[in-house]
Amino acid sequence: MTDDDRVFRALADPTRRFLLDRLFERDGRTLTELESELEMTRFGVMKHLRVLEEADLVVTRRSGREKLHFLNPVPIQLIHDRWIGKYRERQASALAELKTELEKEEAG
């Protein structure tokens, strides 16, 4: 299975998309926190998280005694760039535009 296959397979399930949505909302959650939002056994949630980890959509880090789950958007970015990236505009002028926007916000 290629990396892309793993990503699409992981995304082809509503529970796993739900878990990613929760992490998008707030990153760095424990299994216990994620489990509390689903009507599913702890084992079931672990299985889904493992598929997400294998696709690299979720990366775990230890923080003290806790294992925290983070949404890793890079695999989706790679898929995006494969078909959409070539239309991207130069970044330098983009940065300058953003600066203008931010300064407008501050003034306003």
Partner: protein, 172 residues
């Protein structure tokens, strides 16, 4: 439960690149590499604890700014090296000076971890601790891409992967 209420402000990015850890290390720390992907700034690293880190604003960024009648700072990003263990681990502080809002949020903490993963592939993990820096966090998460700010770390790492694996950069 207190842990559930705690606001987590760390972003984690991971990418697998068909390259040696040394090649990835060089691509992060050497200006002749950093000018070829992402925002294209030429980094200036003193790779020792307490050493300085700066990304001078590029001529292209300055020209673009001048064309729109706005001033760009001479240095776009600055910080300090906390730990440099080539080609495995780099820890540093990181502050975006592009505008007053991100400058005021102060220094954040950035960690690069590079590990061999077999088959000539290396795993690059970037951890950005963004406590107290919500504006910068939105920027690094790519939430301001529609306004032309670029796609944040995901985009930078995707571009880095493309450069190291194909020798070319993404469109643009």
């Amino acid at each position: 439960m207190s842990t559930m209420m705690e606001t987590k402000t760390t972003q984690v990015y991971r990418v697998y690149i068909k390259a040696t850890p040394q090649a990835i290390w060089d691509a992060i720390t050497k200006p002749e590499w950093t000018e070829r992907y992402g925002f294209g700034g030429r980094v200036e690293y003193e790779l020792r604890p307490g050493g300085s880190y700066r990304v001078p604003t590029t001529e292209a960024m300055k020209r673009a700014g001048a064309g729109m009648g706005i001033s760009t700072p001479d240095v776009m990003v600055d910080g300090e090296v906390i730990e440099a263990d080539p080609p495995r681990r780099l820890v540093q502080t990181w502050r975006m000076l592009m505008d007053q809002a991100t400058e005021a949020e102060g220094f954040t903490r950035l960690t690069y971890e590079i590990e061999e993963s077999g088959g000539g592939v290396s795993k690059l993990t970037l951890v950005h601790e963004l406590e107290g820096a919500p504006k910068l966090a939105a920027l690094t998460a790519g939430e301001r891409e529609a306004e032309g700010a670029g796609g944040g770390w995901s985009w930078v790492l995707s571009d880095l992967k493309t450069l190291l694996e194909t020798g070319a950069r993404l469109g643009g």
